[in-house]
């Protein structure tokens, strides 16, 4: 177990810069999720931490040791790949024990370690099989077994669940969380799935175009997104953005938008400098509720999903999605008013996109 520190890490392929000045500090036993759309550089960053790819600059420190010039095998890390990367010609037992075999661990000790890992993952009955004879979920477990058997300082997961079907994905997500709670190892986990990020991470780094947009606890990322990109990327359905002008009458803030005025009493931000200027209000669909006062508009689309009903409201030309209860089934074209919890609203600077 160890801390992980990344300072000023850069990576460029020729003139293409895929990572720009990345800084991350992760505490011992922490679970860091690198989250972002494909092509944001998160997998490259993971490869650099693993030592599979050299960085173009900056420092990676695992524990107290700077590992910039250390071979992957000497970093005492373990990695679970998206494709699992199980050796197809070896049995599950040998796959799991391979890292120990390469480190010349004596056979009895190695067998004991493999057995313990297999026990933990409930794959003991699969030990003599070849990877080709396993289901997707079983392969996933073997890949994790191969990682935990080594008892590494650092676990690296590269989109480990993306090849599983929806049901298994939820199951294995829980399994990974259970393992982390039990083993307490420091983990870096790459994904593009925000649910995985929110459920698993103790820290989340949202990335785009090689830049970390926000690095914080998952709850902070959800409640106080650093910019419009993070606000839009986290949450489903995505955050509503309502354009308007910030006004203050008698010390009470409100947002004047095309469809009327929205009371912002209780806003958690210091926005004094923006009074009288255009702003973007980020409003989560799940904070909207049917009420007498708030924002009003006409119903454009109704999408029942079972537990919820998504309603898209046309508010003076701007679309607002609300996540309402399953019994709220308005008719198309009907007028509707939704209350907004101002404490959950975030205001963004329309020019920079940053949270004010």
């Amino acid at each position: 177990m160890a801390t992980l520190s990344i300072k000023g890490v850069r990576k460029s392929f020729g003139s293409l810069e895929v990572l720009k000045n990345i800084d991350i500090e992760l505490e011992d036993g922490g679970f860091l999720v690198l989250l972002g759309p494909s092509g944001c550089g998160k997998s490259t960053l993971l490869s650099i931490i693993a030592g599979l790819e050299p960085s173009s600059g900056g420092d990676v420190t695992i524990g107290e040791r700077n590992v910039n010039n250390v071979h992957p095998k000497d970093r005492n890390i373990a990695m679970v790949f998206q494709s699992y990367a199980l050796y197809p010609t070896m049995s599950v037992r040998r796959n799991i024990g391979f890292g120990l075999e390469m480190r010349k661990m004596p056979t009895p000790e190695r067998d004991a370690a493999v057995k313990k890992a297999a026990d933990l993952l409930q794959i003991e009955h699969l030990l003599e099989r070849k990877p080709g004879q396993l289901s997707g979920g079983q392969r996933q477990r073997v890949a994790m077994g191969r990682a935990i058997v080594r008892d590494p300082d650092l676990f690296l997961f590269d989109e480990p669940l993306s090849n599983l079907d929806a049901k298994l994905r939820v199951e294995m997500r829980t399994e990974i969380k259970r393992l982390h709670d039990r083993l307490g190892t420091t983990i870096v986990y790459v994904t593009h799935d925000q649910i995985e990020a929110m459920t698993l991470g103790t820290k989340v780094a949202v990335m785009r175009n090689g830049v970390i947009q926000q690095f914080a606890d998952p709850q902070i990322i959800y409640e106080q997104p650093a910019n419009v990109f993070v606000a839009a990327f986290i949450g489903s359905p995505t955050t509503n953005f309502l354009n308007g002008t910030l006004e203050a009458t008698n010390g009470l803030l409100s947002l004047r938008h095309g469809g009327g005025s929205l009371d912002l009493g209780g806003l958690q931000q210091d926005v004094g400098a923006f009074v009288g200027r255009p702003v973007v209000a980020g409003i989560r669909p799940e904070t909207l509720q049917v009420a007498e006062t708030g924002v009003s508009g006409t119903v454009e689309v109704v999408e029942p999903t079972g537990p919820d009903t998504m309603v898209i409201l046309n508010v003076g030309g701007q679309m607002l999605t609300a996540r309402l209860g399953s019994r709220d089934r308005p008719k198309l074209g009907q007028a509707m008013t939704l209350s907004v919890d101002a404490r959950a609203v975030n205001l963004f600077d329309p020019d920079s996109g940053d949270r004010i």
Binding site: S47, P72, K73, A78, M79, F81, Y84, Y87, F98
Partner: protein, 317 residues
């Protein structure tokens, strides 16, 4: 006035019903179309492969000498096969064939694998180098044979000269005239000519190995040689097995290169089975015995392929 909803198809003219293009078009919509497509090639293969092969089999049980019509073409049953058992040249050819095939394949495989591994790193300039390295495989046997014949010539061969300059040789050597070196020289020429076949197939196999496996092995601490032994070679097993079978077939069946280089000489030091059978037919016109030799070759090949495939299957479990 009401209009017909559908206009009836115009009546077929005589030309249309016999228009060959149209007839083929309609034929292509029948259930037997896939078989019709196979028919021409199947007929051709039957005519030029199956029929001659069967003919060859029965020929091996007959007397058949083109230069001696007086002997006739009677059935002689196992006469040729019995002759073979007592024919020292047959046994010598068999032994030479074994040496020729195993040494050539071992050499071709080693060079082919090395080349494929090097090319697979995709370094700058690899594309051009790959073309040059693969080129010999596409050159004609006749030219390959004469190129090396020129280079190994006892009087003006450049290889003799180079070896003498490096000090490996005291004087010019007649490689193909010495029974001790003729086979080795021929194997080198053959390997030069055919190793790219292994390179080609192994390169294709290497492309199919996921890069993640090597990353995982890096983290697991396996060095380059361990990776080669524990990942690359096991993953290439099927393709190597296929390549070896195809090369064995090629080497056993075709006497071309030896025919050009040595004609089996000096003495009979490079006499292989295919060459012996060919000379029996082409020089002695004893088609019956030549047929019997070919049949034995075929049976040996089949037997080898069967055992080989079984062995590589058994190893998988």
């Amino acid at each position: 006035m009401s209009r017909a909803l559908y206009t009836a198809a115009p009546p077929r003219t005589v030309w249309e019903s016999i228009n060959p293009l149209r007839m083929i078009g309609e034929l292509s919509e029948t259930r037997y179309w896939m078989y019709l497509l196979l028919l021409p090639s199947a007929l051709l293969i039957t005519a030029v492969v199956l029929y001659p092969t069967l003919y060859g089999f029965q020929m091996s049980f007959r007397e058949m000498r083109l230069n001696r019509p007086d002997v006739g073409t009677d059935w002689v049953f196992f006469k040729h096969y019995i002759r073979m058992v007592n024919d020292p040249i047959f046994w010598l050819s068999l032994r030479n064939t074994a040496i020729w095939v195993t040494s050539s394949i071992a050499l071709e495989f080693l060079i082919g694998l090395t080349a494929a591994l090097a090319l697979n790193r995709n370094l700058p300039g690899t594309k051009l180098l790959a073309v040059l390295i693969l080129l010999p495989y596409f050159l004609p046997n006749v030219v390959a044979g004469h190129m090396w014949g020129l280079m190994l010539d006892p009087r003006l061969g450049v290889i003799n000269d180079l070896l003498m300059r490096v000090g490996l040789l005291d004087g010019y050597k007649a490689w193909f005239a010495d029974p001790k070196t003729a086979m080795a020289a021929a194997i080198i020429v053959e390997s030069w000519h055919s190793f790219p076949f292994f390179t080609l197939l192994i390169m294709a196999g290497l492309k199919g190995i996921p890069a993640d496996l090597y990353k995982a092995a890096d983290i697991d601490g396996a060095g380059p040689l361990a990776q080669l032994r524990l990942i690359t070679l096991p993953m290439l097993k099927t393709i190597i097995a296929a390549a070896v079978i195809l090369r064995v077939i090629g080497l056993v069946n075709s006497p071309d290169l030896l025919l050009i280089l040595t004609s089996g000489g000096p003495g009979r030091s490079t006499q292989v089975l295919s060459l012996y059978a060919f000379q029996m037919a082409y020089k002695d016109f004893n088609f019956g015995y030549a047929g019997a030799l070919s049949v034995v070759m075929f049976v040996l090949l089949m037997g080898f392929a069967w055992i080989y495939v079984r062995l590589s299957k058994v190893n998988e479990d």
